[in-house]
Structures are given as C-alpha cells and as structure tokens.
C-alpha cells in the first residue's frame, strides 16, 4: 500500500500542512507538523515568480531564496524527513520551471530517491502533462492534480487523466492565502468531484482556522492549510517550531474528530 493509500484509508479526514522549504528552520518545523498531528506534508519549492501565491507565500518564497535555498537543499530536506518519518506522505509543491529545468526524468528520479510521494505543479495543467507526468509515473511518484471552481464538468475527466495520490480542490478562484470559500459551494464541489473520481478529495486555499477546517473536514477527505503556517513562521522565524506544533494540534483535533461529530 502506498503512503497515501494508508493515510486516506484511516477513518478520519487528513490534515495536509504546507510550508515553504528553506523558510525558517524547515527540519524542526516539519517535525513539529508531524508531532502536532499533520497527516500529509506539502513542502513548497521556492520560486522567484510564484504567480499563484498571495503575499504571505510570495514572501516565504523570497525569504527562502534570499537564504540561498537550492533544489539540492530541498531534496536533502526531503530525504532527511523520510529518514525520520517513514510513514508520513510527503508532497513537493511548486512551479514548473524549477521542476523541469534539469529534465523531468532527473526530477522524478530525485523525488523517488528522496522518498517523495507526490508532486503538485501549479502551472502544468493536464494539457501539458507530457512535460512532467510520464516521468513521474515511471518513477512511481504520484502527480496530484488540481480542480478549481472554474473546472467545468466537461473538463474534469481530462484534468483527472493520469492523476494520483489525491485530488486537490482549490476552493476559490484566486491566489493562496486571501479569500475563503462559502461552505455550501465547497460541499457541492466535493460531492461533484467524488462522483467523478475514486481519488481522495482534499480541499484547500483560504483555510486558516480550526473551525473552518472542521467544517470542511465533515465532507472532504483532506483539508489543506498553508498560509496560516507561513504566517507563524514569518512571525517567529527560526524559533517557530513550538508555535507550529501547537497550531497543528489545534487543527488536527478539529479535523480528526469532525466526521464522528457529524455522524
């Protein structure tokens, strides 16, 4: 069973936590996420031009790059994480250019070697799958696809072609960290997506509080929280880990119990 399959087989909604690699003390923050109860880790690969990100994650990208974070550093962080945490699925999330610059085969092989389970590439839609998808699938790394409020039913099968791991529903048409979507629209979308795929469906963008997360967790298989962690790291810098852990726990408690409360 893959790490994703094992995680989503549990009878509870998964907390999927995003932080940017190289922003703050990444190893300590990753451990804090796991200790606090995160089920899946998304590690952001910093990019100079994070077009889909709001101010918080943009700033995290720039802080990381200003410290000199390289792709080699990120794979080293990933491999070290895998050595410490054998079970927790690890996803690299980022933009096409850093992922493809040395060739998709190179990137896929490095992911496999470092124990990375999945990739989210913001700017490679299914239409350009050839850029990265075949290499990842050959290497046994899942390509996690995004669906959005603008993904109409006609396009959904194409968007799901070749997808793995879980389906990431971006609940707002927008950038990270700003608006939040109405619960009703999320519920409608998750139901529609679950009818179209057997993949677990995770919901993200704009989720900041345990209360919001718990609401979404009633219907989704996973809830993604990103900018709220980035804000904590921005505030506390290299000493953020205890704060990250405490916030993770508050989210995990809210999310993990949500389905039983609803039932």
């Amino acid at each position: 069973m893959t790490r994703f399959a094992a995680t989503f087989a549990k009878p509870r909604t998964a907390l999927i936590a995003f932080i940017t690699a190289g922003d703050g003390d990444t190893a300590a923050n990753l451990d804090a996420l796991v200790a606090g109860g995160a089920d899946v880790i998304e590690l952001g690969m910093p990019f100079t031009d994070p077009m889909a990100d709001g101010p918080a994650i943009q700033a995290a990208n720039l802080r990381s790059l200003a410290k000199g974070t390289t792709t080699a550093d990120i794979f080293a962080m990933a491999a070290a994480f895998r050595a410490r945490h054998a079970e927790v699925p690890l996803v690299l999330m980022g933009y096409a250019n850093p992922m493809t610059v040395r060739g998709a085969d190179w990137f896929a092989a490095e992911c496999a070697k470092a124990g990375v389970d999945g990739i989210i590439c913001v700017d490679i839609p299914s239409e350009e799958d050839a850029e990265l998808g075949p290499s990842l699938r050959t290497a046994g790394v899942d390509l996690i696809r995004l669906a959005t409020p603008t993904t109409d039913p006609a396009r959904l099968p194409a968007a799901l072609e070749g997808a793995g791991g879980f389906l990431y529903y971006v609940s707002v048409a927008g950038i990270t960290g700003l608006q939040q979507a109405a619960q009703a629209s999320i519920e409608e979308a998750v139901a529609r997506l679950k009818a179209a795929t057997d993949l677990p469906v995770a919901v993200g963008f704009g989720v900041r509080t345990p209360k919001q997360a718990a609401q979404i967790a009633r219907v989704a298989d996973g809830v993604v929280v990103g900018s709220a962690f980035i804000d904590i790291i921005a505030e506390h810098g290299d000493a953020a880990a205890p704060h990250v852990e405490a916030f993770t726990r508050s989210l995990a408690d809210a999310i993990h119990g949500a389905k039983e409360i609803a039932a």
Binding site: F47, T48, D49, P50, M51, A52, D53, G54, Q58, L62, L65, T70, T71, Y95, A96, N97, P98, M99, T100, V101, R102, V122, D123, I124, P125, E127, E128, E131, R145, L146, A147, T148, P149, T150, T151, D152, R155, A159, V170, V172, A173, G174, I175, L178, Q179
Partner: protein, 406 residues
Amino acid sequence: MTASQTLPNSLRTGPDDRGHFGQFGGRYVAETLMPLILDLEREYRRAQADPAFKAEFDDLLKNYVGRPSPLWLARRLTDHLGGGKIYLKREDLNHTGAHKINNCIGQILLAKRMGKQKIIAETGAGQHGVATATVAALFGLPCTIFMGAVDVARQQPNVFRMKLLGAEVVAVESGAKTLKDAMNEALRHWVANVHDTFYIIGTVAGPHPYPELVRDFQSVIGDEAKAQILEAEGRLPDMLIAPVGGGSNAIGLFHPFLDDAGVEIVGVEAAGEGLDGKHAASLAGGRPGILHGNKTYLLQDEDGQITEAHSISAGLDYPGIGPEHSWLHDIGRVRYEPVTDAEALASFQKLTQLEGIIPALESAHAIAAAERIAPTLGKDKIIIVNCSGRGDKDIFTVAEALGVEL
C-alpha cells in the same frame, strides 16, 4: 509575389492546435485559468471566421490608430552609413505612439465579444499600458494596469497618461519591480477575477492563444510594409530589423516575410551593460524554460530560478521572449543580435539628429543594429527597420543617462 502567401512547407502555419511552436509555447497555467484560455481560443476562432470582426478591426486601425503607418526612406541616415538603403516603418506615428495599440484594438474587440466588463494589463515602458487604457476609454470599460514600481518611477509621463485616460495604475512592489513582476501580479489578479475580466497581454508571450493572436493583430505591420516596399522599390527588401522585448513588434513585421527566403531577418535583443554583465538578452544568455504560461528561452540560474533582466529600455527589460521567436531562433530563420544600452543611446541621438525622428529607446536598439549592419551591405540593398515607437516617453531616462538635468 502576393502579400501573404502560405506555402505547403510554410513557416507561417504555427502554432499547432495545442499552441506549440516546435518545443516552445503551450499553456502552462494554473487550472483556474485553463477553462478561460480555452474559451478565449474558441472565441478567437469564431472572430477569425467572422468578416464583421475584421471589418471593425480594420476600421479602427484606419480611422482611430491612423494606419497605414508610413514607410519612410531614411536618406540622411542611409547616406551617413554609406551602405544599404534604410527604410523606417513608422509605428511611432500611430495613435499613442507605438505599435502596441494594434494589438489592444484586436483584444478589446475580443473582450467585447466575450462579454467581459473589466480590462487588465501589465506594462513595462508604459506604452502597452497607455494603449490599453486608451482602448478601454474608447470602449467605456474600467481598466487596471499593473506596472513594476521601478518602472512607475522611470516612466512617470506614461503613468500620468494612463491615469488621465481613467485607468487605475497599480505599482507592483514584488520581485525586481519591473515588467516580469507586473505580469505576475496581473496573472494573480486575473485568476481571482476570471469571470468578468479580460487580460490584454501586451506582447507575443503568455499562454496559447495569446502569442498567436497578438502576432496576428500585429502582422498588419509586415503586411503593410510588404505592400509599401513593393510599391516604392518594386521588390522585396533584403533585410528586416526589429527590436525584441517580448517580440510583438518584431513578429508583426517578420511574420508576413517568413516564407520569403531572400529576406534576411534580424531581431535585436537588449544587451544592457553587455552580455557578461546585466542584460535582457534571453536568446543570447538564456535557456529554454517555463514562465508566464509558455515555454521559451529565459534568463535563469541552474535551479530554474528566473534572473533579473536589465535594459535601459523599460520595454525590453524582460527575462523572457515570445515562444515563436525561440522557435525561429532554433530553426535559424531569424538571427538575433544583441545591442547594449550605450549603443542604443548613441543611436537614439543619431536618428534624432539625422532624421528628425526621436525613436523609443526600444526602437533605438534596432537602429543601432542597422548602423552596424548597413555599412557592410551594398548600396543596392534594402533594409526595413521597425521604428516601433516614439521616444517622448524616454527623454527623462536619456537625459539622466547623458547627465543632463531637466
């Protein structure tokens, strides 16, 4: 030879139906934008098939923009250089002072067809911003222009023009605060407002179908130039020269001539302080990569991080280039040459003094290349240089570079 013939093995048939020119181009955008881009393509195909669309476009170009723009034989410049005969395609005489308006007219007509109520655009020099604000005023649509904070500072007259035209100008503070960052911010805004907003991209870059449709709207430059040179000289030119930022004025001039094997074609990249210093020459100094929706040559480091471009000319200060140029470069149909800030500054002054034409700094790069090449050609040779815009917007930058206080 007819104005626009397409041969079976033509170089003018691209992109393919997925928006690729060879390995370049494509649609590398967030899923949120993908449905919109597919919509835009469908609407563009319908517009292409609709004679009323072309009629309205042609009418606006003629009566609003003032086309055709003249093809001016630059006699004094030609005599001074003592070689090939230099013609200037006078895009500087268009309404708003550059070629940018051609594309804006086409795109706002598409926006109208699609029922979009708001217009956004990115701008570097401010020429595209002014052209966009202009068509938005003409069509009565609210308009927001994203412009890097550095460019806002160095292109004040254009910022004020945009505001007079009723546009909101957003000074972008992220990254290097120039054109690339303005485009990032425009894309961010667009993603959040796709339902009612049309993004008028200012050059032949971005996701498919933008590189294609911008090229098509700008090809009026080359179509006119071809007819004009046939009328003036009875034959095709030996060479075309145009400056390349994203590459819209250049592809507009080049495209109708791509299948004319006897026409040598030269694109001019901004070499800034020189190719071993800070520059904006993505073909000479970059490698293929993915940014802003397309695959193309980019200035980047070994990890694929985009490096900052530099040019004295804000309109050329971009670390990428349109994908069709990357392809034309790789297949060798177009030769791309670098021109430095210093060379462009010298040519800016030379053209002003010899012809009474103050060119945009962007256009001055092409003039500089012509100065380099013309003396090596016989007097019977004909060169068409794209004077893509007028230089009024640049007088502050030039004054500063020359150490003159205004």
